[in-house]
């Protein structure tokens, strides 16, 4: 446990040394300040305008959550995009000649080493995402005096989205000892494949008539991690206090993540350096 923690902590330090995360923290701080100014300048009636529901209490809760989401969603997505970019080099750096030799000569197992790297990447993103979400949440909560703590659970759904992508990066990092392929795979899944499969399976499922195409989409839908649902539907439901309605995307993505990390550790354990 101690070994894993040391590796985790030094991965966080490596991340801090790379300016990307600091840049993101700065960006989040800016977003928090701007939203604080905006929501305090606008009057209640200006904020409610356009909403036609009658019940005022529900309105305020939903408005609060919606405003929070509007600010958070693009920034959290940006955070994941940046995190993919900057965490892609963690494993390849570790595997560099002269560095890995030394690490492997220490009383730490290879599994601990790789798992620590994985946790380190997650911790960095958790800190970043947590800062952004708690900050924005606090601004809105104070303005409306609505302290809806369940909203904060989206810190976990956003971090989990990254965790799944990061498992791919770690796997490619171990196999290729480079960062490019892992980064490309993560971006491809996050930006193209997962949204496409979601559309094909869930949104436009009815419109597809070919049985063959349907089963192809099905096959890939269940295998590929569902980052688009994790960041979309599931995060939204959590934010609005509806809880988790469909566990399937979470469980299949979790299975994918364990498989990817497990396979990465398996390969790492046999690799010559």
């Amino acid at each position: 446990m101690n070994n894993i923690w040391i590796t985790t902590w030094y991965t966080v330090r490596e991340a801090l040394a790379r300016k990307v995360f600091l840049f993101f923290i700065g960006l989040s701080a800016l977003a928090i300040i701007i939203s604080a100014v905006v929501v305090n300048v606008l009057s209640d009636s200006a904020l409610i305008s356009g909403v036609t529901t009658q019940d005022n209490n529900i309105i305020f809760e939903e408005i609060a959550a919606s405003i929070q989401l509007i600010i958070i969603t693009p920034l959290a997505s940006l955070c994941i995009l940046l995190a993919i970019f900057s965490s892609a080099s963690f494993v390849p750096h570790m595997l560099e000649k002269g560095n890995i030799d030394l690490l492997l000569s220490k009383p730490i197992s290879r599994s601990q080493l790789l798992f620590g790297k994985f946790l380190g990447g997650l911790l960095v993103v958790l800190i970043n995402v947590g800062f952004l979400i708690i900050g924005v949440w606090l601004v809105i909560a104070i303005r409306f005096s609505i302290y809806n703590f369940t909203f904060l659970s989206i810190i976990l759904s956003v971090t989990f989205t990254f965790a799944v992508l990061y498992s791919i990066i770690v796997l490619f990092g171990v196999v290729t000892q480079g960062s490019i392929l892992g980064m490309m795979a993560a971006y491809f899944i996050f930006l193209i494949l997962s949204p496409l499969l979601y559309a094909g399976k869930v949104q436009f499922g009815e419109l597809i008539t070919s049985d063959f195409l349907k089963s192809v989409i099905d096959f890939f839908y269940y295998i590929v991690p569902k980052t688009s649902e994790l960041m979309g539907q599931i995060t939204m439901n959590l934010a609005l206090g509806k809880g988790i309605i469909d566990w399937q995307p979470i469980l299949t993505s979790l299975a994918f993540m364990f498989a990817a990390i497990g396979y990465a550790i398996f390969i790492f354990n046999k690799k010559d350096f």
């Binding site: 040391i6 330090r13 560099e96 002269g98 560095n99 030394l102 000569s105 220490k106 009383p107």
Partner: protein, 310 residues
Amino acid sequence: MKAVETKDLTKIYSSSFGKKKVQALVELNLDVESGLIFGLLGPNGAGKTTFIKLLLGITFPTAGNAKILEESLSNYSVKKKIGYLPENHKYPPYLKGGEVLKFFGKLSGMNGLDLDKKIDELLELVKLSQWKKTKVKAYSKGMMQRLGLAQALINDPELIFLDEPTDGVDPIGRKEIRDILVELKSRQKTIFLNSHLLSEVELITDRVGILNKGKLLREGTVKELTEKKEEYKIVIEGNAADLDSISFDNSFTRISDGSYSVKVADINELNKTIDQLRSRSILLKEIIPMKNTLEEMFISLITESEKNIK
């Protein structure tokens, strides 16, 4: 106790396409007793680095097995008692000198004040105290090497592997490193040294192994390996002019005034020569067994083994 023990240790690297194979080590059997400075010598590509990597579990053997400190390699906790300075070591460039030592100290299971004290002590030892708070990316090659040595000693290891430790270090720095190694030996540490710099190794090692193309050609004390068993230098009193007129059974050649070299098959023959000299009342002052330098022995050994391969 045996610090290192290998049995038929073999490593064959195959390239990713499986076509080209490199036999880096061939059925190597080598034991190193603890408490010694052992030097593994060999030209570039001999397999020295591979040998250490196999012992530390950085690379896995194709066949055979090995033990360090009488433990099997699969037991990673034995590495608490090991120090290692790799050939091309790299440290996280964002860490400062002291932080590098802290990181590896922690990974070796150390903590708190003990570790802090040890860090200062080692930085002092390798003369980097005033660089403690400088990021390692600003270090020169020689400084990196000294930091690497401190790193290898951070956990006060029993067995220390050093791969080309004086690489890139200036002559004064080399002397300092040698002094540190000798001091470590006096504290009962075992030091396993890889080098292609023979003249250096000769100065401090107790035993050496000569490796070429993955095969151990010779192993023994420096004295054993460098003694030319059949050649002696004989120094006589005065300058016997009539020595040239004697016909010896063996090659008796003049090196300089009063000193001669004689090549003999065995000790009997040596004594026959002495009898011949004594029968002419020549006074003998010294009879000295002749030595190769390690380097001469090394070169002749390697060239011989190359010939045998062809």
